[in-house]
């Protein structure tokens, strides 16, 4: 049996913008008996540095991995971007001696060395693989059988398959199964695995907003009452930006976007206030009503 103890890697976007994700994740993980250890002195995972300097990205990511190695604990991230980068670099350094040597050369300057002794997991991997569906099911006190939702896993938790290989990126089912455990119905919709576009918002806003509009349109078409995400960047695109999308395209969506742990928390019978549902931009009061 796996020891349910992880170093929590918060990344930047969650403390900056989405405490609601962190609050709800900590609540449900506690209920499931998962122990979280705070990660000392961590820095940005490295994702925003890759486009400007690949070596810097590698070193930033490797430094975080070394911190975990020092604690002898595996990393759990809540953010797809952090997971994508840390997992990729971890695997690359474990497999490629040349790159490992190069990065260790940089790390030596800050008194560190990558050894390759830990693994990196995303929240949904921890829940599906380590905690297990059965155990989650046992904590569900109020099955959300009245609720019809859709999933959006996002990209960096499934692609590139070569480095992740947890599930089929064309048909990701982990989040879907995690949703079904809560009793809610998870509907299929068009272009489910499509990107939210968030990584280029700093360069071009128009394209990501169009991408997000299209996704919201597909979700509305199947009559979902809410959308469920597991990445802060995807969440920002669909929740925080939803009023902007509505204004820009003169449309009304009104689709609440919940972090997965918020949905799970509701099914566990945790009070809505404790799950920071009020912090969502798109009002989720109706979802709370349906669930209570």
């Amino acid at each position: 049996m796996t020891d349910l103890k992880y170093l929590i890697f918060l990344g930047c976007a969650i403390p900056y913008r989405l405490p609601s994700y962190e609050i709800s994740a900590r609540k449900v993980l506690k209920k499931l008996g998962v122990e979280l250890v705070e990660m000392p002195e961590f820095n940005c995972c490295g994702f925003p540095l890759d486009p400007v300097n690949h070596d810097m990205m590698l070193t930033f990511a490797a430094r975080n991995l070394c911190l975990a190695e020092q604690q002898n604990l595996n990393i759990m991230t809540l953010c797809n971007g952090c997971f994508g980068i840390l997992n990729h670099v971890n695997k690359e350094l474990k497999e490629d001696k040349k790159i490992k040597e190069k990065v260790n050369g940089y790390l030596k300057e800050i008194g560190m060395e990558f050894k390759g002794t830990v693994t990196v997991k995303h929240l949904i991997h921890v829940l599906a693989e380590d905690v297990g569906f059965q155990k989650i099911k046992m904590t569900v006190k109020k099955p959300l059988s009245q609720l019809r939702v859709v999933q959006h896993s996002g990209c960096h938790v499934v692609r590139p398959a070569k480095y992740i290989g947890f599930e089929d990126p064309e048909n990701p089912t982990t989040l879907k199964k995690l949703i079904q455990v809560t009793g809610a119905k998870c509907l299929d919709y068009m272009d489910e695995p499509e990107c939210c576009g968030a990584p280029i918002v700093g360069v071009n806003e128009e394209i990501p907003l169009q991408l997000a509009r299209e996704k919201l349109d597909h979700i509305r078409a199947v009559g979902a009452q809410a959308m469920i995400t597991c990445c802060p960047y995807c969440h920002i695109m669909y929740d925080l930006n939803q009023p902007r999308i509505e204004r820009a395209f003169n449309e009304k969506f009104g689709i609440p976007v919940l972090h997965y742990p918020q949905l799970l928390g509701l099914s566990m019978g945790i009070a809505p206030e404790e799950l920071a549902l009020k912090e969502l931009r798109v009002n989720a009061a109706e979802i709370v009503n349906i669930c209570s």
Binding site: F42, P48, M56, T59, C155, I207
Partner: protein, 185 residues
């Protein structure tokens, strides 16, 4: 077809006759030495990457297939002054779908890195880079937010090791690049 019509209509890219003097035959070898970009020469221009690219659906100019061809041809100057390379959203669909296992998104990343080395970087990235140097995080998280964390019952956010951060900027040579880099608006 749509691609050609639209580009002609906007007149930003004419039906170009490529001059051999514009091509750097060694460029593809340089790119193929960069991690992730090793298989650049294996691209046979099927266009799967572009057909499946979410950005290409909403932009008239961003075409991963074209970027790879230009790389193979060694159109270095055209590539490294081309703003479209900053449009890849790194969804990695192209990498997963490529029948030749070409790391398309990684090649685009390599092109971006070279553009920055040449001294050009989008404003958004400069901001994030300077935030990281200042705080260790990609954003400047205000004291108010940090205080609110505690009110919400969240543990204090660990402080980053800024000495180490600055050192990594130096040893990777990025501090020097940063001094000369100009913004791409």
């Amino acid at each position: 077809m749509v691609e050609t019509e639209k580009t002609e209509e906007k007149g930003t890219e004419q039906k170009a006759v490529l001059k051999s003097t514009e091509m750097d035959p060694k460029f593809k070898y340089k790119i193929s030495k960069i991690p992730g970009a090793e298989k650049v020469m294996l691209c046979f221009q099927c266009g799967t990457c572009t057909a499946d690219c979410p950005i290409s659906r909403f932009d008239d100019f961003y075409r991963p297939r074209k970027l790879i061809r230009m790389t193979q041809l060694g159109l270095k100057d055209k590539l490294l002054s081309n703003d479209v390379i900053w449009l890849c959203s790194t969804c990695f669909t192209c990498i997963d779908h490529c029948p030749q296992d070409v790391g398309i998104a990684s090649i685009v990343r390599a092109l971006r890195n070279l553009t920055v080395e040449r001294g050009h970087m989008p404003v958004g990235y400069r901001e994030q880079v300077s935030n990281i140097l200042k705080t260790g995080y990609a954003y400047v998280i205000s004291d108010l937010r940090l205080k609110k964390r505690q009110q919400k019952g969240l543990p204090a956010l660990p402080k980053a090791n800024l000495k180490s951060v600055a050192k990594v900027f130096n040893i990777t040579g990025f501090s020097k690049t940063l001094e000369k880099v100009e913004d791409i608006k």
